[in-house]
Symmetry: C2
Subunit: 602 residues, 2 copies
Amino acid sequence: MADSPGPGTAGTSSRGSHALARYLPILGWARSYDRHVLTSDLVAAIIVTIMLIPQSLAYALLAGLPPVVGLYASILPLVAYAIFGTSRTLAVGPVAVVSLMTASAAGAVAAQGTELYLEAAITLAALSGIMLAVLGFLRLGFLANLLSHPVISGFITASGILIATSQIRHILGVEARGDTWPAMLRSLANAVDTINPWTLVIGLPATAFLFWVRKGLKPALVSLGLPTRAADIVAKAGPVIAVAVTILAALSFDLGARGVDLVGAIPQGLPPFALPSTDPDLIARLWVPALLISVIGFVESVSVAQTLAAKRRQRIAPDQELIGLGAANIASAVSGGYPVTGGFARSVVNFEAGAETPAAGAYTALGIALAGLFLTPLLFHLPIATLAATIIVAVLALVDLKTPGQLWRYSKGDFAAHVATIAITLAAGVELGVIAGVVVGLLLYLWRASRPHAAIVGRVPETEHFRNVERHRVFTVPHVLSIRIDESLTYLNARWLEEYVLEEVADRPAVRHVILMCSAVNEIDASGLESLEAINHRLIDAGIGLHLSEVKGPVMDRLQRTHFTAELNGRVYLSQNRAFGDLAKNGGPPEAVPADMARGMI
Amino acid sequence: MADSPGPGTAGTSSRGSHALARYLPILGWARSYDRHVLTSDLVAAIIVTIMLIPQSLAYALLAGLPPVVGLYASILPLVAYAIFGTSRTLAVGPVAVVSLMTASAAGAVAAQGTELYLEAAITLAALSGIMLAVLGFLRLGFLANLLSHPVISGFITASGILIATSQIRHILGVEARGDTWPAMLRSLANAVDTINPWTLVIGLPATAFLFWVRKGLKPALVSLGLPTRAADIVAKAGPVIAVAVTILAALSFDLGARGVDLVGAIPQGLPPFALPSTDPDLIARLWVPALLISVIGFVESVSVAQTLAAKRRQRIAPDQELIGLGAANIASAVSGGYPVTGGFARSVVNFEAGAETPAAGAYTALGIALAGLFLTPLLFHLPIATLAATIIVAVLALVDLKTPGQLWRYSKGDFAAHVATIAITLAAGVELGVIAGVVVGLLLYLWRASRPHAAIVGRVPETEHFRNVERHRVFTVPHVLSIRIDESLTYLNARWLEEYVLEEVADRPAVRHVILMCSAVNEIDASGLESLEAINHRLIDAGIGLHLSEVKGPVMDRLQRTHFTAELNGRVYLSQNRAFGDLAKNGGPPEAVPADMARGMI
């Protein structure tokens, strides 16, 4: 999969242009671009632009940055992704979880509102962009697999709770801080005396309205006969209505003078182009959070992109996606933005509004740029509480309360990883939460890998099948011990294998032959081979034959490059049935089998 | 295995005494201790004591510590291991690799010869002892599996080279330093002008003599009719001869006055009992090296113990071994010693000299204590060069030049881990070497796990077997696609599974049924289950049936706790043969199968 080029490269003629098309997927789709596709992309771009304006302001607020930084992060990154990305419908820009992570990382370096805080956010985008691009060129996308589904869903749930809690202060109009849930709750509790009633009058109805739009409006529109897709898009426009109404309210009642926080003046114009900081001290303090932002952003983006691509039978190339997202983040950094990735909600809107190529993203960028040039004065009176309400309503959809119960029933280990990720993210913040999730998942995996499943098997009567003697009525003979090894033999379980086989043999004095049934052994690494050799030598000492059956082709190919098959005190059989048939007849000690003959059995 | 008690606990009657016997293996063997066993143990103890005296002085020198610290580390730790250890023949004490690691860790904190350096070495023993004991109580011995055979052998080879190089300065009688190989070589090259000829006159013949004892004397004794075992033991006494002869030479020619470094005054008496440092700053700087010393010491010790136990059909309990080694290190720390573990050479001597119980270790401790009380004045004139020669000859046996070639032929990944460990240990020191070995091994493992093997299979004519269509002449039909998945479905490869199955289906428009043959699937975690559900839903969209065959019992048990089997658009078959037989006949779209019926097939 990692080697597959982006979509649309089938027609390239030479090797050079093939490589170029891999790294520049735009060469694939741009050639077949026509008026019909242009219309579809433009319609989608207009809808996404309308949705993205309040969203980009809100997520900049969540990241602790001036609102205009959210707009900057929604222009050039979209153009860069359109050139380098492989998903046709992914909409790139600021997203909730990455904004929260940015706030946490930049907040550890400087206070919100300072020049250094903004510099840190921009540096995070630059570092993250470089890391993503390097991972993409080195084809290291597989490292994202370290985040299992339970860890990701736990992290997203906990982030949703953290984000919603962090915005409550804007609804109440109070000062509160904190990177962890206990700190946030404590800070809110301390500030409860200073609630601004006018802010509350804006914030609570806005939140309630947006909840209703999400939960009530869409079903209402559908029952009025609107197609589900259109109803969905209208419901997604709810924030725009809230923005317009609360701006009018703020103007009408002069809420700014009554202590309601407003967005205020947003600098008009195009993004400022500048190279990000190269301060080694800042980089040293930010590279770990930048790596975590990269990985989380990549995983979130790739799963959205894959879901959407599958619906239209298209494909994405994960390693090229790293390059696409890397380019987007570098573009964000040089234009005064902060880390971006592919967002779920807006990508779905883009897809459902009919976007056909990444050009839709470029048109959206144009729309945001125009908004930055002409619309910002209108946003002067926008209450911050309205933006907080859009964030709260958006992120509560991330909180998933069903998964823990499902995981508990299916797998205690996955449940443990999920709950540990939620608990540590809430209690210790996003960075430690991600790291803990990866470490817990890996430790559980290694623990299971070090004590794999194996079974003594016997023949199911009147078949050629061998099943577990403890689960089936099967035929065995006392002098032949058939062990099915249910795992690849790697260094993680090499010690286990030796102990297991020798112990089972020690418990059965009548055994003259051991057959290791290797149908589930997909690999034998050097440590596993050493254990097999040790078992063979110890069984030779005990006058017991060691045989293998159902060894897979690739595994056998490698075993034949060693002395093991020649030294094996027994045969390698194609099938367990033949091995058992041969050895069950013969009760004596094993005959010496020439190695060539043993190999001939394969 | 981890739950098995130590040897000899079979006769305990109650639950309480069972638990006690697990943690105090001495209760197992002490009851059957008789005069015959006592004699065997005493003989072995005398031989090991003679061998251990020069060795403990030499390894203390290697660790950069006063010689007496080596004696202290060879008394109380042996008694503690005799009480808590499960190996009957393991000989605990200072060993080469751990001494090198101690020198590296203590040298990072203080200069050799200072009070703080000694304090750091003692603290390392205390920390390492506590860590080992905690790992043992938590049953975390499996973490040692993270060190694969190729990584361990690479680390041992590189350590052997580093140790031998570090001792050359004592043979030349020069000052030289360095924790890495390049630094050591550079330092030696700079010091070449200051070579002391008298030191060389002692050092070179001693080295040559010890090489000859090892390589020439043993075969000579064997050809003279001495049994191999006895010849081995005599050859191991070579260092004692070298010590005696060079002491006489130093006395006769007054070499101390000619600039030859001598051991000098060793404090007489029993070890000083004291609690180790609790300075939090020192602990913060030493816990990482202490952890690495613990893991390396444990792995080295356990593999020696397992090898020896297997020869006498005894068993060791790895988790209790952690407690035994932990107790030994704590004992070392409170009696002025430095980190210890089970040594290969002296354990083999102990075993071959006939030791039958850990009491032999306690008698050895007594021997060393007597030596400390009465023999140390005799060692005043022992040249340091003699000790360096014994170290060089001992550790060059650790350097293994055959393994790289074998690994290259068998497995490029294991070769890479081996060579990376050697290179980084030589270039960057022992701590980074171990860490790099673990990380490289783990990354390669995860990379392989993320792109597992799978095969399209068909029926071998006139059998019930299904093999890879690319390797065998097999029977298939166009509307049935049988995929054998050669790996457990875990979060590491969940994404791969989705891509692989959907791509193979997309390439074959005639396919109406997909059978996933799960004979090699030992586990399906929550992420793997989610991928199966996604595949099922997408195949439903495409009007294709999804069937499973040869699902293992434990895997099926868990799948039945989910909605997956009910939602599956197809059946679960006991055998691939029956699945293929059923579906090959039926060319149309899959019939709806009631979930209960599908479950009934298991």
